[in-house]
């Protein structure tokens, strides 16, 4: 089955979404990620979406769900690399991604994750 790879870097899980996502792939990622958080005791999840041309309500909901799910499992989530055109469209669509932290790029996302888990300590 097709899957989105999840990489581990210390206590952070890195997900780089590089495919045009269909709905089942998004749901599989949700399941895989919660399992990996459990197995690795990760404190942070970084979702890199610079390769995504669109974020529609389904993908937006998946991102919000992952973020909420990770929070319940004591991990913070940061979404990084959203293209400006995607951000503009997302806002106009009416999707506000409540509770989802974002950062402009991976470096700033890592820094934010560090701060978020320090606050949680």
């Amino acid at each position: 089955m097709e899957r989105i790879p999840i990489l581990q870097m210390g206590d952070i899980l890195l997900v780089t979404i590089q495919v045009d996502m269909h709905d089942q792939l998004a749901l599989t990622l949700q399941d895989d990620l919660s399992e990996r958080i459990r197995v690795t005791s990760a404190r942070g999840v970084l979702i890199e979406i610079s390769a995504l041309d669109i974020v529609d309500s389904f993908i937006g909901r998946m991102i919000a769900t992952i973020s909420a799910l990770a929070a319940v499992m004591d991990a913070r989530t940061v979404v990084v690399g959203m293209q400006p055109a995607v951000a503009i469209t997302l806002v106009e669509l009416g999707l506000n991604l409540t509770g989802v932290s974002t950062a402009l790029n991976v470096e700033r996302g890592m820094r934010l994750l560090g701060q978020l888990s320090a606050e949680a300590e």
Partner: protein, 132 residues
Amino acid sequence: MSASGRIAVHTQQDVVLARQAARQAAVACGLRLVDQTKLITAASELARNAVIYGGGGHMNWEVLRDGLRKGVRLEFVDQGPGIADIEQALTDGWTSGSGMGLGLSGSRRLVDAFELDSAPGQGTRVAITKWA
């Protein structure tokens, strides 16, 4: 590339193909990146609606010319149960299923023209247009 076409929309994978066809049409008529993104996002919402609520259908796409102006028109047609209260269906946050209720109302905000024809038992037809 021909200036119009039709693709079947029955599965999640077809939603991806509908997005790709929408992108090709958007690029062909010279939509700028933000407008391409808006059109493709609206296409994704409407194609998914056709699959989930309409039990599948098809998307007609067409590159329009109005003098020097070019645009893209996408039409989503399904033979599903139809929509009883169109005004309610176009309200933000209203959903008959598990979605967020942004598909129709959100798509309407992303495009220049939006037409919705539906009645119970008659299926649903949604047409959107974006001008370059």
